[in-house]
Amino acid sequence: MPQNKMTDKAKENNKSLTADAFSVKSRLKNSVVTPPPAAGAFKANPLVKQTSFRKFYNRGDLPIALEHDTKGNKIAWKVEIEKLDYHHYLPMFFDGLRETKHPYGFFARQGVHDMLEHGGNKITSVIPQLIIPIKKALELREAKVLCTTLKVLQHLVVSADLVGEALVPYYRQILPVLNIFISMNCNLGDGIDYGQQRRENVGTLIQETLEAFETYGGQDAFINIKYMVPTYESCRLN
């Protein structure tokens, strides 16, 4: 009992002080430096402002029929895709990728998919206008939006010739967020990943996307990717 009293007294004498880092107080003997605040790199930034896609959808400016008598995941186009002005509509649909709410998210995803499938050479000239919507979508740092955007990027590089090479100068705009999330994998140990087919693991998707960039980006692609994502290893060299 006396021993406990002693340790309590000793504890009283050795009470620690909390101190801010790099302050004079932190140099005292019993001071405990407060840990640094979380940087929030993985924190999602929720959508605050309405996207222009939502505005145009509500106004009826998009060339898609909005009734829901579709069987399966299809959208009906009012105008043939081949006749659409890609410079006007493709950036609009890419802007809608930030939406997660139904039906905006669905129409944006399907619209982008259909336009990339049937765009051909028209897509290459629109690439500079797509970078800002892609960057905004990645900056939300939200898992669902990230997955959608990465799948769209994978489709983009295979949709037409020279698109992969046209993207190389813009790597410094779109790859920083991929660098943050590349290690966001799920360690299941020896468990089975039942959701693998749904392609929802961000780390794996980023790896696949970077490999697609390297495969279709030409000769300079790898070095540019390595500059922005240092932990990426080539899938073509070595």
Binding site: A65, T70, K71, G72, K74, A76, W77, K78, V79, E80, I81, D114, E117, H118
Partner: protein, 90 residues
């Protein structure tokens, strides 16, 4: 009205059991609201646009004038195969 009389009436209908290229064709027409190729050509009078490699349907015009675009590869999921109607005109 005259166009309606040109549409061939199917003699019998069976449900598909297993996926095949014919089932995929029928799926794509039925998603767009047609019974099959015969009805589409009778109503629209247009040739069906197809993908060059796989030969699957690429684009269809719906009855209300809007367009449906389809993928190069298989689109019909296994769970919908048994809902597809195969019509025969013989």
């Amino acid at each position: 009205m005259s166009a309606a009389s040109v549409i061939p009436e199917p003699k019998s209908m069976t449900r598909a059991k297993k996926w095949s290229d014919e089932v995929e064709e029928a799926y794509r027409f039925q998603v767009a609201g047609y019974k099959g190729e015969a009805e589409y050509i009778a109503l629209k009078g247009l040739e069906v646009e197809r993908w060059p490699d796989s030969g699957y349907i690429k684009k269809l015009t719906r009855k209300d004038g809007n367009f449906y675009y389809y993928n190069k590869d298989r689109e019909c999921p296994d769970k919908d195969v048994h809902q597809i109607k195969i019509y025969s005109y013989n």
